[in-house]
């Protein structure tokens, strides 16, 4: 027994932390840790999804009216960008697992760029809301929310359109914060990937960052229809 333990110590991977028995245990622990973390994220966004449900149920017309002031093309492009970034992320994980060093670096770079593209488009959308006085409350003191800027559908009341916009900003803002964290994480991963740290034996950081990235994408996949696609048919035009 003593020999086998000594042998294990000799061959163990440099990335193995001292409190784990072997790489397999370390991999399981970090993967499960990320999944548990994602569960907490679901609950975190859940509070906002619940608020969305409640207020949309209370004020459906106001929600549809306000939703028409979001840019459908930009939202749709961003959806495409994120879906594609998930694809490149999955390829990056695959390349790490199979030891394709160059493909791994390229895919991570692509994912990073796509994430930044998403954030850029999101910023342009926020700028447009700022210009049209659609930022809720007195967040921008010189430009308080102006409900008159919203074209009201029949049945919608002016007092209620602001609620849509705070939900929009809370949810997409929180999502953007998660994107920014994701970009930060990917930058670190990319840095180590260029130094050839990840390969077939040790690729767990790439994998769990991928899990996180996919999760943030999925949140957007829910946000896009819930926020952008309401009552388009009622307007009689493309928005």
């Amino acid at each position: 027994m003593a020999e086998s333990i000594a042998a294990e110590h000799e061959v163990h991977h440099p990335a193995l932390q001292h409190h784990f028995e072997n790489m397999e245990q370390q991999r399981e622990a970090s993967t499960l840790g990320m999944w548990v973390f994602l569960v907490t994220e679901i609950m975190f966004f859940g509070g906002m999804f619940f608020s969305y449900t409640l207020y949309r149920w209370l004020y459906p017309e106001a929600f549809a009216s306000a939703s028409n002031h979001l840019s459908l093309p930009l939202g749709a492009i961003n959806t495409g960008v994120l879906i594609f970034s998930s694809f490149t992320m999955a390829l990056a994980v695959y390349s790490a697992q199979t030891g394709k060093q160059r493909a791994q670096v390229i895919c991570l770079t692509l994912t990073l760029l796509l994430g930044l593209t998403f954030l850029g488009i999101k910023a342009a959308e926020y700028k447009e809301k700022y210009d049209t006085n659609l930022i809720p409350g007195h967040l921008i003191p010189s430009r308080p929310f102006n409900p008159d800027a919203v074209h009201l559908l029949p049945g919608a009341r002016k007092e209620n359109v602001e609620i849509f916009f705070w939900i929009y900003f809370a949810m997409t803002g929180m999502h953007a914060v998660h994107m920014i964290i994701g970009v930060g994480v990917l930058s670190v991963i990319l840095f180590f990937a260029t130094r050839g740290r990840y390969g077939p034996e040790y690729h767990n950081p790439v994998e769990i960052s991928g899990l996180y990235w996919h999760f943030v994408d999925i949140i957007w996949i829910f946000l896009f229809p819930l926020l952008y696609l309401l009552g388009r048919h009622l307007m009689g035009h493309g928005g």
Partner: protein, 562 residues
């Protein structure tokens, strides 16, 4: 005779492995982090305790004489916030849990030692922000932060306190995450789920609530701050929001948070009752699963805080029925503890006194909970001292007693020294008497209609309040005694054996205090939880270099030097 061998206690252990402030502040050892938590949690407990004493002194007389009404509002709010978020929630999980989870499953550390240390720093930062808010001017909304008072009308430091609670939530989430992953992936060979000590089952259930509930209070507090800062109508009806939404979101976390506070306590009590009766726990799997059942049901009963909020009567009825359902797993525990005592070989050491106190007080707290789950009775006693007494029976009579019991029980392992048994028993009795004298009269006052959260009250309630204040003084005194003798014992206490209580658990099969990596070799577990040796072998079990000779094949080769 040798069945297991433990490292010599006087040599290197986790306390003397490294010296200096830096070695503590940058430690990744779960045992040292547990001690960091122990110190800070104790600090916050005494801050909260000072507020409690101020409340009790003010209520000695019917008039508002010691504190003005505004100051009183801030006092009870800050008492609640400090005690709930900075003492009760982290108390057992972050100190005893941190110390014991890896030891009980035979691991070297928690799965994520850095995240574990991070959670302590987050807790400290949150604590500093909150304390700063209290010093800067305090907060007067009650710990519940009900909107629209908190978002629109209150002139106190709501946002800053909210920030403290928001940040503190992440400490709780990270601790929960660490426990879940550790229990899933780091168990020693042979340590199956059903061989785990029951403390781990309840810690696991607590961790589930921490990761599922805490994010919701985080987002709720965030929205509250947004509404207050930007005047966005989220919760204030005057600007288009819905105040009942706040209550739903708040209680969706804060009711399960009650179980974050009491479930680890129940785990400690399961350990104490089985070990100090020297008997396998009655119905192990029932006690284990009742923890999970409480965690699951706990998420479905938040509406019983809102019977008078204007939610539909139908919703209230469903919440009422579900609240009764939570009583079932709780009662399973109480009955099984009692059945474990039956024909046990009971020793009345300090931890056991706390455990027995817990059973009685928790039962009273739980039963009065049923009164409050009954809609008609609840409408009568809502916002009275009946409610105050009820939750203090759970929080103080339950959690605090379990925490103290656990602290005494594992103190030899934590510090390597015995606490003075006589003083221990004495203070346990003083705490028990003081506690009951404080809160039993409040049931009566509340039932007669004395409302909570007022600095003044009609003179006919004075007798109850005088009793209560007298009790609080005794309770405060009783709690100071352990503080003094536990600190004293760290230097002057009798040196503890590795296994002073002669118990089978893994944490007792290593030195007191344990070495940094807990066990010299990963143990192999071949015994069930609470498997006590036959009586004739009891005396030698656990002494250094000696063990259960007749069953040496079933013992782990811990400390075998290779």
């Amino acid at each position: 005779m040798e069945s297991f061998e433990v490292p010599q206690p006087s040599k290197v252990n986790y306390l003397n492995a490294q010296y200096g402030l830096k070695s503590w502040l940058l430690t990744r050892d779960h045992k040292r982090i547990a001690l960091l938590y122990l110190g800070s949690v104790t600090f916050f407990f005494f801050i909260g305790g000072i507020y409690a004493m101020l409340i009790r002194l003010e209520l000695l007389t019917p008039q508002s004489d010691l504190l003005s009404a505004t100051t009183y509002n801030k006092t009870f709010t800050q008492h609640g916030i400090i005690m709930i978020f900075f003492f009760l929630i982290p108390s057992i999980p972050a100190t005893l849990g941190n110390f014991l989870v890896p030891m009980m499953i035979g691991a070297k550390d928690l799965a994520f030692p850095r995240i574990n240390l991070l959670s302590w720093y987050i807790y400290i930062i949150a604590g500093i922000i909150t304390i700063y808010a209290l010093i800067a001017g305090g907060v007067d909304t009650g710990w519940t932060f009900y909107a629209p008072y908190s978002t629109t009308f209150s002139n106190s430091y709501v946002v800053l306190t909210g920030l403290g609670i928001f940040i503190n939530g992440f400490s709780s989430i990270l601790t929960g995450l660490n426990f879940i992953v550790t229990i899933h992936t780091m168990r020693a060979p042979g340590m199956t789920w059903f061989r785990m000590p029951l403390f781990l089952w309840s810690t696991y259930a607590t961790a589930l609530i921490m990761i599922l509930g805490t994010p919701v209070i985080a987002i709720t507090v965030l929205l509250l701050a947004f509404e207050r800062l930007a005047r966005i109508g989220i919760f204030d009806p005057a600007i288009g929001g819905d105040p009942v939404l706040f209550q739903h979101l708040f209680w969706f976390y804060s009711h399960p948070a009650v179980y974050i506070m009491i479930l680890p306590g129940m785990g400690v009590i399961s350990e104490l009752i089985a070990n100090f009766s020297r008997k396998n726990i009655f119905g192990y799997s029932f006690v284990a699963f009742s923890s999970l059942a409480i965690a699951v049901f706990g998420f479905l009963v938040w509406g019983h805080h809102m019977f008078v909020s204007g939610q539909s009567v139908f919703a209230s009825m469903i919440f009422s029925v579900l609240s009764f359902a939570v009583a079932i797993p709780s009662a399973v525990k109480v009955f099984n503890w009692t059945a474990t005592l039956y024909k046990g070989s009971i020793s009345y050491d300090t931890p056991m006194l706390y455990a027995l106190g817990f059973i009685g007080l928790f039962t009273i707290g739980g039963m009065t909970g049923l009164f409050l789950a009954t809609i008609a009775v609840d409408v009568h006693v809502t916002d009275t001292y009946f409610v105050v007494a009820h939750f203090h029976y759970i929080m103080v009579g339950g959690t605090l007693l379990a925490y103290l019991g656990g602290l005494h029980y594992w103190w030899p392992k934590i510090s390597g020294r015995m606490y003075p048994e006589g003083w221990g028993r004495f203070s346990a009795l003083v705490v028990f008497v003081g506690f009951n004298l404080t809160f039993l009269p409040q049931f009566v006052a509340g039932y007669l209609g004395m409302p909570r959260r007022y600095a003044t009250y009609p003179p006919e309630f004075q007798v109850f309040n005088v009793l209560s204040t007298a009790g609080a003084s005794i309770l405060g005194f009783g709690l100071l005694i352990p503080l003094i003798y536990l600190i004293w014992s760290m230097r002057y206490g009798k040196i503890a054996e590795p296994n002073p209580w002669h118990l089978p658990g893994l944490e007792w099969r290593t030195a007191s205090p344990p070495p940094t990596e807990n066990f010299l070799l990963t143990p192999i577990v071949t015994w069930e939880a609470y498997e006590f040796a036959p009586p004739e072998e009891m005396e030698v079990v656990g002494t250094v270099h000696r063990g259960r000779h007749a069953r040496s094949d079933v013992d782990a080769p811990i400390g075998e030097n290779t």
